[in-house]
């Protein structure tokens, strides 16, 4: 992915709180941005999902991107003890797709690290 397609957070050394709002299934830019984080002060990662628009996430490419995010969030848990929060965006149809999100982030779900709201 070209560098300009995701925010570079490597210089934000005081960063404590990070929130992404994801529309559609393009989750790769969240992963790319998170990979640039170097702050030792990070305490919270929140991902606001628009569940109703995650329709294509079960396709091969989309699924691989979610697996990458799953692995990265596990790393944040093991290295920083940060438990990610997944929040359903308003008016997105509710958490009836909760099970699907748990399938997309299986390792986080297995370790009971997903904080779904």
């Amino acid at each position: 992915m070209p560098r300009e397609h995701h925010p570079d957070l490597s210089k934000a050394s005081k960063l404590k709180d990070l929130t992404f709002l994801v529309k559609r299934s393009n989750i790769h830019w969240v992963t790319a941005a998170l990979q640039t984080v170097e702050s030792k002060n990070l305490q919270q990662i929140t991902i606001r999902l628009h569940i109703a628009t995650l329709g294509n996430s079960t396709e091969e490419t989309g699924h691989r991107e979610w697996q990458d995010l799953d692995r990265l969030l596990i790393q944040f848990w093991t290295s920083h003890s940060i438990r990610p929060r997944l929040v359903d965006a308003p008016n997105s149809g509710g958490w009836d797709a909760r099970d699907r999100v748990q399938c997309l982030l299986p390792e986080l779900a297995r370790r009971n690290l997903l904080e779904l709201q």
């Binding site: 300009e4 397609h5 995701h6 925010p7 570079d8 957070l9 210089k11 934000a12 050394s13 005081k14 960063l15 404590k16 709180d17 990070l18 929130t19 992404f20 709002l21 994801v22 529309k23 559609r24 393009n26 830019w29 969240v30 941005a33 002060n41 308003p90 008016n91």
Partner: protein, 313 residues
């Protein structure tokens, strides 16, 4: 609180003096209630021979009224008790003033307080204006009235595209030197001179406007506010141009919290903002509308306000 039991006799609207009974008390229109004094000399209650005898120290009375700061109906009733109660109740009743063209028209304020210097505008700390006409129906210049709100700390301007000035936002330039929070939604694009007219500005919100093109033909101001708290940026067509101008502010950017809505290539601008504030940034929220998946041309103001969390913060 025992002291309340000794002096508060639950004032009821419509049961005050004859003068008070003549007031048009409307709970949804606070300034008609307290428009009985047009002379600032009487604002302190000095010289008023009809005020209710009270042996309590004024600071005790002030304390009691302060406890009612979030009960506007009770505060309006307190205005009818005694003129000596009015100054303190006004401080709370007019702490937040909102104008819009339908429910709370600016013209009504001007009719009630025709002389801006005698209006209770100096009590206002939070001012919200939506759909304000450039000149009022009473022919009064908006800028002249706005300058009476010289103690406003939080200023919110919505859907204002004033004409008749070189810069449509000129009536608001520096009207209150203590503004710390500025929110502009769907206004004229020439917002940067307005931003720089508030030296103490800390929080900045720019939602849903079409920015000028980059920095072409734009001279950076000689000074700019410190901008040390929060930035919320959701600009139709992308944040690139707006970011370019903000990055050229002479005193830099020092935001601790950034919320930015990115469209397509906007991530480059978001990265520039993050880099500029890297020493101070503590919280970052990125809303992504990827080009193609969500073309910027189809973005609406509702999309932008929803994306940046303004309507459901």
């Amino acid at each position: 609180m025992k002291v309340l039991g000794t002096i508060i006799w639950v004032p009821t609207a419509g049961k005050g003096t004859d003068e008070n009974a003549a007031l048009n008390l409307r709970t949804d229109f606070p300034w008609t209630t307290v428009g009985i004094e047009q002379n600032p000399a009487s604002d302190s209650g000095a010289g008023d021979q009809r005020h209710m005898p009270c042996s309590l120290p004024p600071e005790t009375l002030d304390f009691v009224i302060d406890q009612l700061h979030d009960e506007p109906a009770t505060l309006r009733a307190c205005c009818l008790v005694s003129k000596s109660w009015i100054p303190r109740t006004r401080r709370h009743l007019f702490a937040h003033v909102q104008f819009d063209d339908l429910e709370y028209p600016f013209d009504s304020w001007i009719r009630t307080f025709p002389d801006p210097s005698n209006s209770p505008a100096h009590h206002t700390r939070s001012l919200s204006i939506c759909d304000l006409p450039t000149s009022t129906r009473t022919g009064t210049d908006v800028g002249n009235c706005i300058r009476a709100f010289h103690n406003v700390v939080h200023f919110d301007l919505n859907h204002y595209a004033g004409v008749g000035y070189d810069n449509p936002l000129a009536p608001f330039f520096g009207f209150s030197p203590v503004v710390r929070s500025l929110s502009l939604t769907s206004t004229s694009s020439e917002v940067f001179d307005l931003i720089c007219s508030f030296p103490l500005l800390e929080d900045l919100e720019l939602i849903d406007f079409c920015p000028e093109d980059g920095t072409v033909g734009w001279s950076p101001p000689s000074t700019s506010p410190k901008l040390t708290r929060s930035l919320n940026l959701a600009v139709r067509g992308g944040i690139h141009s707006t970011t370019r101008r903000l990055l050229n502010f002479p005193d830099g950017l020092h935001f601790a919290k950034i919320t930015v809505t990115c469209i397509g290539e906007d991530f480059r601008s978001a990265t520039d903002l993050v880099s500029k504030c890297s020493d101070t940034l503590e919280s970052l929220k990125v809303c992504c509308f990827l080009m193609g998946a969500f073309p910027s041309a189809s973005l609406t103001g509702q999309d932008l306000t929803a994306a940046c969390g303004r309507s459901h913060a």
